[in-house]
């Protein structure tokens, strides 16, 4: 491998990732489209645009004062787990069937694992861009409104929930960035532990870590950073700002990926 070996491995992952998982992606985006459509039809008589659909589909269950108040955030869980499944499925397939062929052709463990680390980040970003685009298009079509400004529904139903008033654009950015940084971090944890243990066990382990945030207020948990109702926009109690979430997730991500890099170089490829 003479020229830009890491880039070639990355493009191999890109092509392979989407070709291998295309049917699963179609199912996932169809489900998202269907959910967007259902929510949009409920919102139509209330004078809304797609911002409300984003909010209702991607919001969590907020802080729980008592466990008896707990409600399962089904949509949040579905999206979080589905994205992790899509990424975990690719990593599992790669380890099971492709790894030795890629390693022996690239002849470099460093290039192989760096390309995987890079691909996981890009895959997350692309999945969420696809998800947001799907919600925007389906919802806007259903509501007959392609604007992203303040709709009557936003002013009457979302603004009163806020303790820090933000524009619809800022709200959307908070949600999108929150989901991406959380998912990148959880995927990197998946990539690290999948090197040592059965993938199915690791996948469920990460799902459990992710689920704890739905009833716990500890802001050091990774998945809490994708929960918009726990952000300082809606709840000042825990000072969970977007800045804190980004820095915390980046630091943890850097630690996990550095560890993955060095561990992978030392371990066998059974």
């Amino acid at each position: 491998m003479k020229k830009r070996p890491m880039l070639k491995l990355f493009f191999h992952d890109f092509t392979y990732g989407f070709s291998y998982g295309k049917h699963k992606y179609i199912v996932f985006y169809s489900m998202i489209g269907l959910l967007s459509l259902m929510i949009s039809f409920q919102l139509k008589p209330l004078g809304s645009n797609s911002i409300a659909t984003f909010f209702l589909l991607l919001k969590d269950n907020g802080y729980i004062k008592q466990l008896s108040d707990y409600q399962v955030p089904f949509y949040w869980d579905f999206i979080q787990f589905s994205v992790l499944f899509l990424i975990g499925d690719f990593l599992f397939q790669d380890i099971e069937n492709k790894r030795i062929y890629l390693l022996l052709r690239s002849r470099s463990k460093s290039h192989y694992i760096l390309s995987k680390i890079f691909w996981v980040v890009v895959q997350n970003i692309l999945i969420y861009i696809g998800l947001f685009t799907t919600i925007y298009i389906i919802s806007s079509l259903a509501l007959g409104d392609f604007s992203l400004g303040k709709s009557p529904y936003f002013k009457q139903n979302i603004v009163p929930l806020m303790v820090t008033k933000v524009t619809p654009g800022q709200l959307l950015l908070n949600i999108l960035l929150g989901f991406i940084i959380t998912s990148v971090l959880l995927s990197s944890i998946l990539l690290l532990f999948i090197q040592f243990s059965p993938p199915i066990m690791i996948f469920f382990g990460v799902i459990v870590i992710s689920s704890i945030s739905t009833f716990s207020s500890i802001k050091w948990l990774p998945a809490i950073h994708s929960m918009i109702l726990k952000r300082d926009i809606f709840n000042m109690e825990h000072h969970l700002t977007l800045g804190f979430s980004i820095i915390y997730c980046l630091v943890l991500y850097a630690f996990v990926t550095t560890f993955t890099f060095f561990v992978f170089k030392k371990i066998d490829t059974p």
Partner: protein
């Protein structure tokens, strides 16, 4: 005749979770020869092949390929083709497109060479059928084509004739003997005694991670 070792292991042993998987393996293999490895399931053939590829690191002992020590000076052999397990081809791609995707990783060969490898092993490179439509035997043939397409100096094949019909086995034998004539070092693991005896210059018997016996056949298939 002075024989130069291309692949050499020196007291190679491997333990996984304190269980000995390979025990004190000493091999001296040259180019231009075919080596057969025979043994029951779990005898350590596949693990040995993985160690020779640099995929698992020895607990003690060394592996040298082309005079260079694996895991020390280089991670993997400089020129190696393997068929150890299903290469994870994409169901939605044709055989040619699957091989092209892998060959693109090191750009050593062009499309014509990929097509020639497919043809050599008895498949049609222009076949428009997707991989999912291939029979088991065709899938195995494509796996072999993947291993030989870059004409590597070291070729390691684990149960390569699984699922091949008699024509497929004959084509496979012809390809291997041709590669042997081109001075390649070839290692095959197989349950099939007859096939190994026909192809191999030397046979190694394995049991419980050890080489228990070896015998020369002086290249019967030539």
């Amino acid at each position: 005749m002075i024989e130069t070792a291309y692949l050499k292991t020196d007291h190679l042993s491997k333990e996984i979770k304190r269980q000995p998987i390979l025990k004190d393996i000493n091999l001296t293999l040259r180019k231009g020869a075919i080596y057969g490895f025979r043994g029951k399931n779990g005898s350590g053939k596949t693990m040995l092949f993985r160690a020779l590829c640099g995929l698992i690191l020895p607990t003690t002992g060394t592996v040298e390929v082309g005079g260079v020590r694996l895991g020390k000076e280089i991670s993997f052999p400089p020129s190696v083709g393997v068929l150890i397990e299903n290469p994870g081809f994409l169901n939605g791609y044709t055989g040619f497109k699957n091989l092209k995707m892998l060959a693109g990783l090191n750009n050593l060969i062009n499309d014509d060479r990929i097509k020639e490898s497919i043809r050599l092993i008895g498949l049609d490179p222009e076949d428009k059928r997707k991989y999912r439509k291939y029979s088991l035997g065709m899938k195995q043939r494509l796996g072999i084509a993947q291993a030989i397409m870059e004409e590597p100096d070291l070729l390691i094949l684990d149960e390569p004739t699984n699922a091949l019909d008699s024509d497929g086995v004959e084509e496979f034998k012809a390809v291997l003997l041709d590669l042997k004539a081109k001075d390649k070092c070839i290692l095959i693991a197989s349950h099939d005694k007859e096939e190994l005896d026909y192809l191999s210059d030397e046979i190694f018997m394995m049991e419980n991670g050890e080489i228990t016996d070896k015998y020369h056949l002086q290249g019967v298939g030539q």
